[in-house]
């Protein structure tokens, strides 16, 4: 993989919040189609690293770039999708509308939007919940809907922050299955070893420091 092939490249990228070091300077690259798990306990810096990779935050040291995509403005909604930690559906929109939202933001044609939403919901097993509001479905279904929203956009890179954090093992497995069903590169931050075990490449983070890179 050349530097230009990388979807995202962290070069000594670190992040501090005041006196607190959330992430030590880190070097990391993710190539197209690559599957990667960021593993570590709560507060270890996984979400911080994911936010930097998603372009949602800026490093205080080092740099983050997206050589194969372009600059930050090109990331979302067409190239990078983010599955956020915790409920992230918009309360006043139905499940289908939530899934459709990034497509509408990307100016996808209305007819195509309907097809892609239907496919994404089918992938995560939520076809029957399409017209329900977020407050009317369970926590696991909420998380699957968030995954469906990421899948529907047909992006190059999906960044998922603890996508199975509050789910039982069966639902967690279904969510990871859905994420792995796409051809996009996938980075999942998790503290769950069962989830981490599903990935070929795993990076351990502890106290903001990437301490160990493991390949299955």
């Amino acid at each position: 993989m050349t530097a230009a092939d990388s979807l995202v490249r962290c070069a000594g990228a670190g992040r501090t919040f005041g006196e607190t070091v959330a992430l030590q300077p880190t070097d990391l690259e993710v190539a197209a189609g690559e599957r990667l798990a960021l593993v570590g306990p709560s507060g270890s810096g996984k979400s911080t690293l994911l936010a930097l990779m998603a372009g949602l935050d800026d490093p205080t040291v080092g740099q983050v770039s997206w050589p194969a995509i372009g600059d930050r403005r090109a990331l979302r909604p067409t190239a990078v999708a983010v599955v956020f930690q915790g409920p992230s559906l918009l309360p006043p929109l139905t499940v289908a509308e939530n899934v459709a939202l990034p497509l509408l933001l990307a100016d996808v044609a209305a007819s195509e939007v309907a097809d892609r939403v239907a496919t994404a919901l089918e992938t995560v097993g939520l076809t029957g919940e399409a017209d329900r509001l977020p407050e009317e479905i369970s926590g696991g279904q909420l998380q699957r809907a968030a995954v469906a929203r990421a899948l529907a956009t047909d992006v190059q890179l999906i960044l998922a922050d603890e996508p199975t954090g509050q789910l039982d093992s069966a639902t967690a497995a279904a969510v990871i299955d859905a994420l792995l069903s796409t051809s996009a590169a996938l980075v999942v931050a998790t503290h769950d070893p069962l989830v981490a075990d599903r990935f070929e490449r795993r990076i351990m983070i502890r106290d903001g420091r990437v301490s160990q890179a493991v390949s299955a």
């Binding site: 979400s47 911080t48 936010a51 998603a54 949602l56 935050d57 990331l75 979302r76 909604p77 067409t78 983010v82 956020f84 930690q85 915790g86 409920p87 992230s88 918009l90 309360p91 006043p92 929109l93 139905t94 509308e97 459709a100 939202l101 990034p102 509408l104 933001l105 990307a106 100016d107 209305a110 509001l133 407050e135 929203r149």
Partner: protein, 864 residues
């Protein structure tokens, strides 16, 4: 735990706390300002009413009562400052040989004025020419006799030779009506007009010339350190008067001029209270609603917080205590801010930095306003908190209260509007007499039933607007079309979002509509009042400048610089049966424009139509409504008037309620040419002078210089000042100024602040949309669509409510209008200002929201 909670709120929910505190502050400031208004008003009303009285009491002694013994009793009266005896005698007529001819008048009055009278009662006699003491003659008398200071006049005495006196001065008697009142006689038995022929003699001269058979009145000046409210002052003064009469044991009757003025002020004070109900109370209620609405914007977050606390074992009592702490924090901050603001507003608008006239009322208004503000905060935060805390499940709390009472609300709205219409119709049929002050009845009361019309109107329109705003959102297609210009391809999903938030948005629309309606209706009422005050000034004065010829012989006025058109207005007196009325002879072709006649001054046709009737038939006559009623007249009926000793036939052609320079009731309008022919006199009496743009007071000054004391010249500027200093006018302008200022603040709070706080409370939603890749324009679709719907809906529906309310308000408060308006005066400038301020506030709220979303912090995505 409570302290920790408050600390957390201050650092994490600052916008919500500040928003609620601001709402409370507006509510408290408005109520306390109105308290200041009422306090300042009632106190000023008493003072002004007392100050207008020339002589507080006129004690008429019964024949045979000794003035000396009466004086002893009078001096025992509490608050007595001055008492002077004035002699009253009749003259058979006055005469003068001046200017190469001799003039003789009819019967008149001669007064014996004691030394020091002018100093003791400065409002009674105004010197126009010559000296202010000695032998004085009234201006009309001087005109009748062609007499001036230095001339000798004769005073006819019954059964004796006429007495000769030398005139020292010509005076005006501003309070002639009360000076020559028939003390003790009821209103209907009073003289219709004061005498034309009046001579004032020094007391010794009076005693020498007319002492035998003369009557004596004791003119009394009381201390004006009266109870603060007009009602209490009236009770005090009239009670003292009756006490004096009792002590005199039938020896004298008190003509209570001070009591009469205070009685009128009592009515004004009631109107002031009603103005509070109509203009102040809705504002305060709306301010309370704005507060509740701002506080409720954090309701969802509060429910989530409560749900989390409940999972960690918080009891219902603890949850309510935390809600109470939040209400107290924002409420107390708002109360302090509001009371401070009210003090400043009170000082600037009413010149009074206190909430009440007395310590007690200050405490009541101050504490009442504070309690109202705290109640608004408690109702908005603690009550929902307590209701939520009683829910057993966390899921239940997260769902919130979602039961829909739409149909019930619509039914209630329609019922309230129907009730309002019914009461309004019933009350309108009776002329909407809000303040009931029947002649001869000492008590003034308010027709509270009539107040149901606006109260139900506010309730009904509020509920209806809410349901309407929800119904529009329910129809997704219409909303999609409305927001397409700002939402573009996202209009569908944004419309869905709006539809599911219809409850909150409808509340926003309702609040803004009611606020706009409050501001607009108050402004329309205020402008209409001002316009009518201008009409009143013109009606009373007749024209820019009015010349009343004292001699009654003049047929033209001399031209002076600045004069435009001159319209002659014949003025005569005529008897309708036994009733002496003012008769005005007009030129029908020109008087409509020259007198700026208004349609509301006539009944049974427009001003032009009725003047047309006069033009069509020479002996046509317009009469007052009272005359129509008293004499059972029908159109075309023949009326025979006694005019200058002749009987002249007229035909009843229509009703005139008001006419330039005419008294309120009992006047007649006819063709000038017919009157001149019938009476053989072309004398005019009154000239309505329009200026060519020169200030009326300048033209009046020039005319006065030319005409001297032979004519009375008045100008509309002076009249405007007199009307503008009336009790209602002064206080109303202060109240409406404050109301209009608060309406602007409320418009900002109900639009920009409410939307801004709402956006802030839902910030995570917008952050999520931004994190999903929304460009600023796309984020703007969500923000601006909501803003557009609330603002446009609020302004449009508010305008509709304002139109209906303004009509109702003006109709209900007819009592403060004199004359009633033809049409409402719309203050477009202020209305545009309300729209601009609301639009500006919404624009600022939206822009700030979008600006803050440019780079959302990642931790906001994780926050719940």
């Amino acid at each position: 735990m409570t302290a920790l909670w408050i600390k957390g709120l201050v650092s994490r929910r600052r916008t919500r706390l500040a928003g609620t505190a601001l709402g409370v502050a507006v509510c408290v400031a408005l109520l306390a300002s109105v308290g200041t208004f009422l306090s300042a008003t009632t106190g000023q009303m008493t003072k002004r009413a007392a100050a207008r009285v020339a002589v507080d009491w006129q004690l008429a002694l019964r024949p045979g009562t000794s003035a000396a013994s009466a004086l002893i009793e009078v001096r025992r009266t509490r608050g007595l400052q001055q008492v002077l005896p004035v002699g009253y005698a009749d003259t058979t007529g006055l005469g003068a040989a001046t200017g190469g001819g001799s003039q003789q008048t009819g019967p008149g009055k001669v007064l014996g004025i004691p030394a020091g009278y002018a100093r003791a009662f400065p409002g009674q006699v105004r010197t126009l020419a010559g000296r202010g003491s000695g032998v004085l003659i009234a201006q009309q008398t001087a005109a009748n006799l062609h007499a001036a200071p230095g001339d000798t006049i004769t005073i006819g005495r019954r059964g004796r030779a006429a007495a000769k006196v030398r005139v020292d001065g010509v005076v005006d008697l501003p309070a002639a009506d009360s000076l020559f009142q028939r003390v003790g006689a009821p209103v209907g038995a009073q003289p219709q007009a004061p005498p034309d022929n009046v001579v004032l003699l020094p007391a010794p001269t009076f005693a020498r010339l007319l002492g035998a058979g003369a009557q004596t009145q004791l003119h009394i000046k009381l201390s004006h350190a009266l109870p603060r409210t007009p009602g209490a002052a009236f009770t005090d003064v009239s009670g003292r008067g009756r006490n004096l009469e009792t002590r005199l044991a039938g020896g004298g009757l008190v003509g209570d001029n001070l009591g009469t003025a205070l009685d009128q002020a009592r009515e004004d004070a009631l109107y002031a209270s009603l103005l509070f109900l109509f203009l102040g109370l809705p504002g305060a209620v709306i301010a309370g609603l704005v507060t509740a609405s701002l506080a409720a914007l954090g309701g969802e977050q509060r429910r989530r917080d409560a749900a989390l606390l409940r999972t960690r074992g918080a009891t219902t009592r603890q949850l309510v205590r935390l809600a109470g702490a939040e209400a107290a924090a924002s409420g107390l901050t708002g109360v302090a801010l509001g009371l401070g603001t009210a003090l400043v507003v009170g000082q600037l608008a009413f010149g009074s930095a206190t909430f009440g006239g007395t310590t007690l009322s200050a405490v009541v208004w101050g504490a009442g306003s504070a309690l109202a503000g705290l109640a608004a905060a408690v109702a908005a935060i603690v009550v929902p908190g307590w209701r939520d805390a009683r829910s057993l499940t966390v899921a239940g709390q997260r769902r919130g209260a979602g039961r829909d009472h739409g149909r019930r609300r619509t039914a209630l709205a329609l019922l309230a509007l129907a009730g309002s219409g019914l009461v309004f119709w019933q009350a309108s049929r009776n002329g909407y007499n809000l303040v009931l002050a029947p002649e001869g009845v000492p008590q003034v009361s308010v027709n509270w039933y009539a107040l149901l019309a606006p109260a139900l109107g506010w309730l009904g329109t509020g509920l209806l607007v809410h349901e309407l705003a929800q119904a529009i959102l329910q129809r997704g297609g219409a909303v999609r079309r409305l927001i397409r210009p700002v939402a573009g391809p996202l209009s569908g999903v944004v419309a869905s979002s709006l539809r599911r938030r219809r409850g909150a948005l409808a509340a926003g629309v309702t609040l803004l509509a009611l606020t706009a309606a409050f501001g607009a209706s108050t402004a329309v009422f205020n402008s209409t009042y001002k316009a009518q005050a201008e009409v009143d000034a013109r009606l009373t004065n007749g024209a820019d400048v009015t010349v009343v010829d004292s001699s009654g012989t003049r047929t033209a006025v001399p031209r002076v610089a600045g004069m435009g058109a001159v319209e002659p207005l014949q003025h005569r007196f005529a008897y309708v049966g036994a009733d002496l009325q003012d008769l005005y002879g007009v030129r029908p072709a020109t008087i409509t424009a020259a007198g700026k006649l208004q349609n509301s001054w006539f009944a049974g046709g427009t001003a032009a139509e009725l003047m047309g009737k006069l033009a069509a038939r020479a002996d046509s006559l317009l009469v007052s409504e009272e005359t129509v009623k008293d004499f059972q007249l029908h159109p075309g009926d023949l009326l025979r008037l006694r005019l200058n000793g002749r009987t002249v036939p007229f035909h009843y052609a229509g009703v005139a309620r008001e006419f330039p320079t005419a008294p309120k009731d009992s006047f007649l309008v006819a063709n000038a040419s017919y009157i001149a022919r019938a009476t053989g006199s072309k004398a005019i009496g009154t000239f309505l002078v329009q200026t060519d743009g020169t200030a009326p007071k300048t033209v009046a000054h020039r005319l006065r210089a030319r005409l001297g004391t032979t004519a009375k010249v008045s100008d509309v500027d002076e009249q405007r000042r007199v009307i503008g200093s009336n009790l209602t006018a002064v206080e109303l302008s202060g109240l409406t100024r404050v109301e209009l200022g608060f309406a602007l603040v409320l418009a900002v709070a109900a639009s920009g602040l409410a939307l801004g706080v709402g956006f802030r409370e839902r910030r995570r939603t917008f952050v999520l949309v931004a994190a999903l890749g929304a460009r600023p324009r796309q984020l703007g679709a969500f923000v601006w669509s909501e803003s557009l719907y609330v603002t446009l809906g609020g302004i449009v529906l508010g305008a509709a409510i304002a139109a209906a309310l303004s009509l109702m308000l003006v109709k209900i408060l007819t009592g403060v209008f004199d004359p009633p308006p033809d049409v409402l005066t719309v203050p477009w400038g202020y209305l545009f200002a309300v729209v601009a301020v609301a639009g500006g506030a919404v624009g600022a709220a939206g822009s700030l929201t979008l600006r803050a979303l440019r780079r959302p912090q990642p931790e906001e995505l994780r926050a719940r």
